[in-house]
């Protein structure tokens, strides 16, 4: 899988990306709200190998976002069903152009909606209650909280609400739809 949007390149992760992924996911500041990652790059390589099998049958898509050949960050679409998909693994490098992580999220969510077959589409995601900035970002899209536990909120976002906010954010970021 390879495509370009808003001047950024999105491609499926490969085994060679294991060190990049591992570096982001073990960065104390960036990954403090993500699930724990193994300390071994070899475990990441093994995980990617298994992922590649899931991608082949359209079960899951894990993207590396690049800007002019430089790896910027990651987004993942998984648990793809007839009318919904889950988004996650959103993590980007520090000290890059501020719009890039947002454009990455908008692009991959739009991609997720495009692969669903139903007309009533939604995406789901969960966010740690302590992850205040990401919570605020997601709440801009007016998602529905469908569950919560001690640690997380679980959200459901309709395609309609996504598109409304996506168009607003793209306008601010100076991009066409």
């Amino acid at each position: 899988m390879l495509f370009e949007k808003y001047g950024l390149q999105f491609r499926s992760v490969q085994t060679e990306d294991a060190a990049f992924i591992h570096g982001l996911r073990t960065n104390e500041k960036l990954a403090r709200h993500l699930s724990k990652t193994s300390a071994e790059i070899a475990d990441q390589e093994k995980w990617i190998g298994e992922y590649e099998e899931r991608e082949k049958i359209g079960m899951e898509y894990y993207f590396v976002c690049e800007n002019k050949g430089e790896k910027m960050g990651l987004n993942r679409v998984y648990e793809i069903k007839e009318d919904s998909f889950e988004i996650g693994s959103w993590i980007f490098k520090e000290h890059i152009e501020e719009a890039i992580p947002i454009l990455g999220d908008l692009t991959i969510r739009a991609f997720g909606f495009s692969v669903l077959k139903s007309v009533k589409k939604h995406c789901t995601f969960n966010v740690k209650k302590q992850n205040l900035k990401v919570l605020r970002y997601h709440k801009m899209f007016n998602p529905e909280i469908v569950a919560e536990d001690e640690e997380n909120y679980y959200f459901k976002l309709s395609e309609e609400n996504f598109i409304k906010q996506k168009d607003k954010l793209l306008k601010i970021l100076g991009h066409d739809k």
């Binding site: 520090e94 992580p101 947002i102 900035k133 990401v134 954010l169 601010i172 970021l173 100076g174």
Partner: protein
Amino acid sequence: MINEQVFLEKFKEQFLDAEDASIQLETKFRETNDWDSLTGMSILVMIEDEYSVTVTPDELKKCELVSDIILLVNNKVNA
């Protein structure tokens, strides 16, 4: 003219971190610990919602101090 103190309060709200409650008009906001792309996006959305003008990421990039953003927003509001 927009009210500088009101803008500053709205600006500080975007940081969501008590450490950055010390942000003032002459603060180099990118040098604060809590600055990141989500904070930048929140500020751009706040300006759009509260002042009905669009500040682009490129324009924000050229601002160093909070007061630079206020000047930029003021110019756009009065254009």
